[in-house]
Subunit: 349 residues, 2 copies
C-alpha cells in the first residue's frame, strides 16, 4: 500500500485553561511512519473515526502533577491522544493484519500508531442493525464504564433509587439503560440539559429526567426523591453535585465518574458538604482501570444486550462528520452540551 | 434539697447564619422542674460544666431539613442542647440518686433534665491525676469519635501515613495520640492554626504539624507527603480539604468528621475535585452513632490508656470558667481557634 510521505497531526499548543479549547491546538505536518518505525505488536492505522471523551481535557491539563494522573499527560507540543478507530495499513502485529478494522489509543491525526494489546484495544465489532461506531461507544470505554459503575462500584440492586447526572451523555445514557432494563432498578432519575435531551433520556428508560437548565430544577429533583437517592452516579460535578448532596440517602453512595464542571472552570462551590457528615454517605471516584479483570465480562454482557435488543445503541450516538481540521471544534461540543450519547467524529477527506 | 423556683436558661433567638453566634441567644427565666415533672428514668441536675462541640452549631442551623439531621434540631425559642455534667438534685431514676455526678444531654441552663440511659449518658468517671472533665473529653463524645475514626472508619494500620486536620482540637488531638501511641502509625501529620498549637500537636505525638495560617502551608504539606496520605481525617473542610485532595494516595480514604468551615460560611470552593476521580479515593462522612455497639469497647480502651498514662489528658483540655451569662461567648471560641483540645465551660456562680 502506498502511503503519503507526510500527514497532518494536531499538537497541543497551550494547556487548556478555559472553554476556548479549539484555539489551543496546532495542525502540523509530520512524516508518516514506515514499517521500520513500528515495534513488535504495533500497527499503523488510517484513522476513520474518533471517540470524544471529557477525560481528554484532563490529560491536557498541565496543572496536574503527572504522578497523580492514571496515564501519561499530554504536554504542550504532544499529539492529542484519542480513542481511535481505523484500518490497518502497516502491521508488525501477529494479531492484526493490513485491512483489519481496529481501535485503540491513537492521536488526532490522519494516521496513528496503535499497540495491539491493552484493556481498551481490539478489533472493531460489527453487529447487524447497529452503528459501526459501537466499538467506541457502548462496547468501548463508555459502555464499560457504565457497566463497571453499575456492578462493581455502586452494586446497583432492584430496590434502589438511582440518580444519574449527564444522563444524556455517553456513559450516563448507557447506565440509565443498564439500571432500568437489565437490573430493574426501582426508580432511575436522569439529569440532563434541555427538554430535548430529557425527552430522550426518558425514552431510553428513565422514570423521570430533570432539566438542569430550569432554575427550579433543585425543587423538581427534591420532589422526585421523597425517600432520597440510594445511589448517585455523577458525571458532571459542580452545582449539580452540590444540589444532590442533600438528596443522598443516609449511608448512600455517590460514584464520581466525571467532573466536566471542574475541568473547565477554576473549581466549584459546595454549600452542602455537611450533608456528607450528618447523613454518613460515601463518595468514591471511579475509573475502569481498577477493574481490568472484569472488562471482558463487561464487553460480553454489553454485546449480548445490544444483540438481543435489550439495550439500544442506534440512537445513542451523535456522529459528526468532519475533516481533520474540524476535530477540535467537534470535540468542544462535549462542553457546550452538543451531543446525545457518545460524540463520534467521523473523519472525511 | 431546696431548689430555687426559677432559673436561667439560654434559648435560641435566631438561627446562626454567620460567626456572630453570641448575639443569637436570649437568656430567659424558666420555672425549675419539680420531681413531679420528671418521667421515670429522668433526673434534674445542677449543671457544673458543659462540653463545647462544633456540632451544636449544626443543630441550630434551621436551613437543614430536620429529616436529614441525626438528632432533633434546635429551633428558634428552644433551649441549647449541650453535653452537660452536673450533680443530681432530683431523681426518678433507679440508677442515679441525689448527689451523683453524671453527664448527658442537657441544656445551656442552671439546671437540666437528663435521661439516665443513652449511648452518651452515664456517671462521671474520675481517674487519679486526671482532669474532672475527662468524662466530657477523652472518655466522652470526643474520645469516642477519635477511637471510632481510627478503628472503625479508617482501619488505621502501622504502615499508614495519616493526616489530621483540626489536630489541636478535641477529636483531632485524641486521634493523633491513638494513631501514634497505640496503633504506631508510621507517620502522623497534624494541621493546626498557629505555631503554639502546632508545637503542642508535636508534643503529643505527631511527627510533624503544619500551620495553616502560614500562606505556604500547602507547599509544606506536599513536602511532608512525598508518598501521599493513606488516610486523611478531616475536622474542618473548606480550603484545607481542597489542599489535601491532591495529596491523598491513590485508593486512599478520607474520613470526614467535621466541617467548621462549612458551618459558618456559605459553603466553600473546591478546585481539586478531579483528584477524587483520577486517584479513585473514597470520602466518607462519619458519626459515632453508627457504631453504638462499639462504644463500650471504646470507653474501656480509652479509660485503660488514660489510666496507664499512654494517652495524656491533663493538657488536652481548655477549661474556661464563666457564669451562665458567658456561655455563648465561651462557645464561640471554638470558631475563633481559641482552644487546644476539648473546650470545657466550667460554670461558676
Amino acid at each position: 500500500m502506498s502511503l503519503p510521505q507526510t500527514h497532518q497531526v494536531w499538537l497541543l499548543k497551550t494547556r487548556p485553561s478555559d472553554k476556548s479549547i479549539p484555539n489551543e491546538f496546532d495542525l502540523t505536518t509530520r512524516r508518516t511512519p514506515i514499517v521500520e518505525d513500528l515495534k513488535d505488536g504495533q500497527v499503523l492505522i488510517k484513522n476513520t473515526s474518533f471517540g470524544n471523551d471529557p477525560a481528554q481535557r484532563l490529560w491536557m491539563d498541565g496543572s496536574i502533577d503527572p504522578k497523580r494522573l492514571y496515564i501519561e499527560p499530554i504536554l504542550v507540543g504532544d499529539p492529542i491522544r484519542v480513542s481511535a478507530m481505523g484500518t490497518v495499513v502497516l502491521s508488525k502485529s501477529e494479531n492484526w493484519k493490513e485491512g483489519d478494522n481496529v481501535y485503540g489509543d491513537g492521536d488526532w491525526a490522519e494516521y496513528s500508531v496503535l499497540n495491539d494489546s491493552g484493556p481498551l484495544t481490539g478489533k472493531e465489532i460489527l453487529i447487524d442493525g447497529q452503528s459501526p461506531y459501537i466499538t467506541n461507544s457502548i462496547l468501548g470505554l463508555t459502555g464499560q464504564t457504565a457497566w463497571v459503575g453499575a456492578y462493581k462500584e455502586m452494586d446497583l440492586r432492584p430496590e434502589h433509587t438511582l440518580v444519574v447526572s449527564g444522563a444524556a451523555g455517553a456513559v450516563g445514557s448507557t447506565l440509565v439503560q443498564i439500571a432500568k432494563k437489565i437490573i430493574g432498578v426501582k426508580k432511575v432519575i436522569g439529569i440532563a440539559g434541555g427538554k430535548d435531551k430529557c425527552d430522550w433520556v426518558n425514552s431510553i428508560g428513565a422514570d423521570a429526567c430533570v432539566d438542569y437548565k430550569d432554575p427550579d430544577y433543585p425543587k423538581h429533583l427534591a420532589e422526585l426523591l421523597p425517600e432520597y437517592a440510594d445511589r448517585f452516579f455523577d458525571n458532571v460535578g459542580g452545582e449539580i453535585l452540590d444540589t444532590m448532596l442533600p438528596l443522598i440517602k443516609r449511608h448512600g453512595f455517590v460514584s464520581v465518574c466525571g467532573a466536566i464542571a471542574g475541568y473547565n472552570d477554576d473549581g466549584f462551590k459546595l454549600k452542602h458538604w455537611g450533608e456528607l457528615i450528618y447523613n454518613r454517605f460515601t463518595i468514591k471516584g471511579m475509573l475502569i482501570f481498577d477493574h481490568a479483570d472484569s472488562l471482558d465480562e463487561a464487553v460480553r454482557d454489553l454485546t449480548k444486550w445490544v444483540k438481543d435488543g435489550t439495550i439500544s445503541n442506534t440512537e445513542s450516538e451523535t456522529v459528526v462528520e468532519g475533516k481533520l481540521e474540524q476535530v477540535p471544534e467537534i470535540y468542544n461540543k462535549l462542553f457546550s452540551g452538543g451531543n446525545k450519547g457518545k460524540l463520534i467524529t467521523k473523519l472525511i477527506v
